[in-house]
């Protein structure tokens, strides 16, 4: 059966189970004819919109206010896009006052799931609240930390996280042009995780999934740099701290007694970090040398680890067929020109894969042999005028603000605008052979381009921010 035949009979499968629609094959995902794909995408978007119009209150309000009734063409969805501000539009005072009932009510308006029965009585903080949502609902909320006194809260779900992991495996272990083997579909590797083992931040949440999904269920194959979790309430404090400092109000900052009570625990965790780092390298060299691993982190973290490894005389540490994924912005990070050589030298692997995505969406777009990031078939990309957010034409070479409509997003509205400047050459047939549309390399955050402070702490900065908050707690009388 060809893709075309399947298309006709199974729009539902394309929308709800794209992995099987494409036979779990990376090659098939990126070989579908563009016209055919766009027709599928258009239909799927229209249906998903109707579903979400019913189930997501904030989308319904926006839609009604703008007088939109249905989506026919791609550009019809653009006025309905959410910016990152939608996911931090709750008053931060609700967290301070522990009004997690109201926080739940707020989140309820952003998600397609019904949260009206969630029990938040006695909730002690953000982590506790998210744990309860985990237990009581299909949600698996992720957070992203900021510097303006608030953090983003994104209502992702467990199903999406599971699909996401399967997709990562597909993208990481398959090669375009070759149908997947059984070993590629169910790889068993050691996972090297140069980060905190746990937390609610987007990039830490996936640790649990990876722990189960990549190791064949053997959790002893998961090797984090720091065994502990990043505490979300501590990250919230860090964000408030930075905002207060910029307003000259640090003296007014009140620390939640629940956090205060855990001060010693945080300090001990911080004090262990040097030790943890040593133990991590010992494990890499003694236990994991020559093994096939999966390792992922942002460029700058990957570089730091590689540099520290080379300084300890460790090089070519892993098996050449290991899967290595990196990416992320370079904001505030100065790396030497040869940073990629340092990383390669340390890792000793054949290839290092890169990807592009942003947390409001859920899909990572994989880099090809030409350096372009090919857009996954269930994601409709847009390039918007950076100032007006009007869509730029879907022809020729266009540079502007990236936005996507992600059909696979079920838990929250899939139309989201990023803070990134991207270029798409709409008429390009990429020499790598993939038929899909692609973002050109050299993606940059607008804030980085304009040299302004960005309200975002990247995954690379988690460690520093965590320490900042602990140091602040150390420095004051509690």
């Amino acid at each position: 059966m060809t893709v075309t035949q399947r298309t006709a009979q199974s729009l539902t499968e394309f929308m709800d189970d794209p992995i099987n629609f494409f036979g779990q094959s990376y090659t098939q995902m990126h070989s579908i004819d563009r016209d055919e794909l766009e027709s599928l995408q258009r239909q799927a978007m229209a249906i998903r919109f109707q579903q979400h119009y019913q189930s997501i209150e904030m989308l319904r309000k926006l839609t009604d206010r703008l007088g939109v009734t249905e989506l026919d063409e791609f550009n019809d969805v653009v006025p309905l896009f959410f910016s990152h501000t939608a996911f931090k539009s709750y008053p931060a005072a609700l967290v301070d006052k522990k009004r997690f009932d109201l926080m739940t009510k707020w989140l309820d308006k952003l998600t397609s799931y019904d949260l009206s029965d969630v029990d938040t009585a006695g909730c002690t903080g953000i982590d506790d609240w998210i744990d309860r949502l985990d237990e009581q609902t299909p949600l698996e909320v992720i957070t992203s930390s900021g510097t303006t006194g608030t953090i983003s809260i994104l209502p992702k779900d467990k199903r999406g996280a599971r699909d996401g992991m399967t997709l990562w495996k597909i993208c990481l272990f398959q090669t375009f042009g070759k149908e997947p083997t059984e070993a590629e579909l169910n790889p068993v590797v050691d996972v090297v995780w140069p980060n905190f083992a746990n937390g609610k931040l987007g990039h830490l949440r996936i640790a649990n999934m990876i722990k189960r999904g990549f190791t064949g269920g053997d959790e002893s194959k998961f090797h984090p740099l720091y065994p502990g979790a990043v505490d979300t309430d501590l990250m919230f404090l860090a964000s408030k701290m930075r905002a207060a400092a910029s307003r000259g109000e640090l003296d007014r900052l009140e620390i939640d007694p629940v956090l205060t009570a855990r001060k010693d625990e945080f300090i001990a965790m911080q004090a262990r970090q040097a030790q943890d780092m040593e133990a991590f390298f010992t494990r890499l060299t003694d236990q994991l040398r020559g093994k096939r691993v999966f390792m992922t982190s942002a460029f700058h973290q990957m570089y730091d680890i590689a540099r520290a490894g080379l300084d300890r005389g460790v090089r070519n540490v892993f098996a050449p067929d290991s899967a290595i994924l990196t990416g992320g912005g370079m904001k505030g990070v100065v790396l030497p020109d040869d940073f990629m050589d340092v990383i390669t030298d340390f890792l000793g692997v054949d290839r290092i894969q890169v990807g592009y995505g942003f947390s409001e969406s859920s899909t990572f777009h994989w880099g090809c042999s030409e350096g372009r990031y090919h857009v996954a078939p269930w994601v409709i990309p847009f390039v918007l005028d950076p100032e007006t957010s009007e869509p730029l034409p879907r022809t020729g070479v266009q540079t502007g603000r990236a936005a996507v409509y992600d059909i696979l997003l079920r838990a929250h509205w899939g139309g989201v605008i990023s803070g990134d400047e991207v270029t798409i050459d709409w008429d390009l047939q990429c020499p790598c052979g993939q038929s899909s549309v692609a973002f050109e390399p050299g993606i940059m955050r607008y804030s980085e381009k304009q040299g302004v402070e960005d309200d975002r702490i990247t995954c690379a900065a988690t460690h520093e921010v965590h320490n900042e908050a602990v140091n602040f707690m150390k420095g004051i009388e509690l």
């Binding site: 926006l62 539009s89 008053p91 005072a93 707020w106 608030t150 950076p386």
Partner: protein, 485 residues
């Protein structure tokens, strides 16, 4: 594209050689200015002794020169000002009618009466013009005089008034002045300097003024110039980053007078809701404080605390006031306020998100980027309040004044208050928290020059307060005659 040239005004000479390009803050346009690293050696005085000519001037002569300068700063006939205006249209975010108005207010600033009031109230004419005698309890004869100093000014660029005030303050203190022109108001200080050279060529006042542009942070210029042997004081206005940057040059002998970034607040008492007329009047005044010069200034209203209470009636009142303020805001005349030319996109995104959260916020207007009022439905400002600009303000209903004082700190400049009785009741408390200027609602941006600024007295601080004491040994017991204890 080079949109305009910022010449170097070097003590009467206008230099346009060795031009290099710079980016403007707005859009893609560039401007050019002489490469300051080629002239930095010529910027400061060779010797402080060269300031003696300023002390041969009578204050009357200073008034004559400033009055002539004011008369020549007539926007319709002054080509330098017109050129500055044209450049500001490219460099500044404010619309043409408002920029033009900012030049029209320069002339009265330099009038005899105005200059005299500023000099006398902010320093004291007797201290400026001679030695002021006083006899101390121990019998010594003290004489104090306020001398000018060698000052570098880094003025803010929102409107031409700042450059004019900078020059005025320098002249009345008989200072030697170097002004670093702001990139968003690049030519106003130059235009005033060139007009000064026209009306008073070769005059000592003209010869003690230099104005030029270099990029903030240009070490080749700064490390050479910002030295105690060249300048004694730096007066820095503006953003946190630029003021912080300057502090690296501060050392013994080189003092910083910081007019650093500020935010302002507004407090409206319960009396505003007494009757419809009062409410409308209050709305008009609040709208003015928000709207003047499109909320680009530090004195503009942004977060407006309303003592309406937070019960249903209180919220209804706050919402109604929000509607009225919005209506007044969008009816302000164009010389005072217009929809912003370059609204902050990030702020607009926040505004749209608040609009979708009507449990917590009521957003009035803002759909055409014309400005908006966000009325909090709880007693907290929006979390993006530091971003408020382009005629977007936040009304916060509160039950008690404690909530307001908690929001006042060292970064708070002006607080506009209604009614007067509330202001008098609050003034001693607000001062403790950091408030610097309390004013009648509606006058936040109507700033007097003959008054302290940012809780300091910048003109007094620009002066060196030199003491001459005369001790007659028969009157003031000399130390050499003290008996051992």
């Amino acid at each position: 594209m080079i949109a305009y040239t910022v010449p170097l005004f070097l003590r009467g000479r206008v230099i346009t050689d060795h031009l290099v390009p710079f980016d403007t803050r707005v859009g893609a346009a560039q401007f050019q200015a002489p490469d300051m690293s080629k002239y930095v050696e010529q910027l400061p005085l060779k010797s402080p002794a060269e300031m003696s000519d300023l002390y041969e001037l009578s204050f009357d002569e200073i008034l004559d020169v400033l009055e002539a300068l004011g008369n020549a700063l007539d926007f319709d006939s002054n080509a330098h000002l017109q050129e500055a205006y044209e450049a500001s249209l490219v460099a500044n975010v404010l619309p043409p009618e408002m920029m033009q108005n900012s030049y029209r207010i320069l002339r009265p600033l330099f009038s005899r009466d105005n200059v005299t009031e500023i000099a006398d109230s902010q320093v004291g004419l007797n201290y400026l013009n001679g030695w002021v005698p006083r006899t101390l309890r121990d019998g010594r004869e003290l004489r104090v005089r306020a001398f000018g100093s060698r000052v570098l000014h880094i003025p803010a660029g929102n409107g031409g008034l700042v450059s004019a005030v900078t020059i005025l303050r320098s002249v009345i203190t008989r200072s030697d002045v170097i002004i670093k022109a702001p990139s968003n108001d690049p030519l106003t200080a130059i235009a005033i300097a060139r007009t000064l050279a026209d009306v008073a060529p070769n005059h000592p006042i003209t010869k003690h003024l230099a104005v030029g542009y270099w990029k903030g942070g240009d070490l080749a210029v700064e490390e050479n110039l910002y030295q105690p042997h060249h300048i004694e004081k730096i007066v820095a206005w503006g953003g946190l980053a630029s003021v912080k940057h300057v502090t690296r040059y501060i050392q013994p002998g080189l003092e910083l007078i910081a007019l650093d970034p500020k935010r302002s607040a507004t407090i409206i008492g319960r009396e505003a809701f007494d009757d419809d007329d009062t409410m409308r009047e209050v709305a008009r005044r609040a709208a003015t404080d928000i709207g003047v010069a499109n909320q680009e200034g530090c004195a503009n209203a942004r977060v407006i605390y309303v003592l309406s209470g937070t019960d249903a009636e209180g919220l209804a009142n706050a919402n109604r006031l929000g509607e009225l303020i919005y209506r007044e805001l969008t009816s302000l005349p164009a010389v005072v306020s217009t929809p912003p030319r370059y609204p902050n996109r990030e702020l607009l995104d926040h505004l749209e998100s608040s609009r979708m959260n009507d449990d917590f916020y009521r957003v009035i207007g803002g759909e055409q980027r014309e400005g908006a009022i966000v009325v909090s439905q709880l007693d907290e400002p929006v979390d993006y309040s530091p971003m408020l600009s382009g005629r977007v303000a936040n009304i916060v209903p509160v039950d008690s004044i404690d909530k307001v004082t908690a929001a006042v700190n060292a970064y708070t400049q002006t607080i506009g208050i209604y009614p007067e009785s509330l202001k008098r009741r609050l003034r001693d408390t607000l001062a403790l928290f950091g408030a610097q200027r309390l004013t009648s609602l509606g006058y936040a941006c109507n700033v007097a020059i003959a008054a302290p600024q940012d809780a300091i007295e910048p003109i007094r601080r620009m002066c060196k307060w030199v003491v001459d004491e005369e001790c007659e040994a028969s009157v003031v017991i000399p130390l050499w005659k003290l008996a051992p204890a």
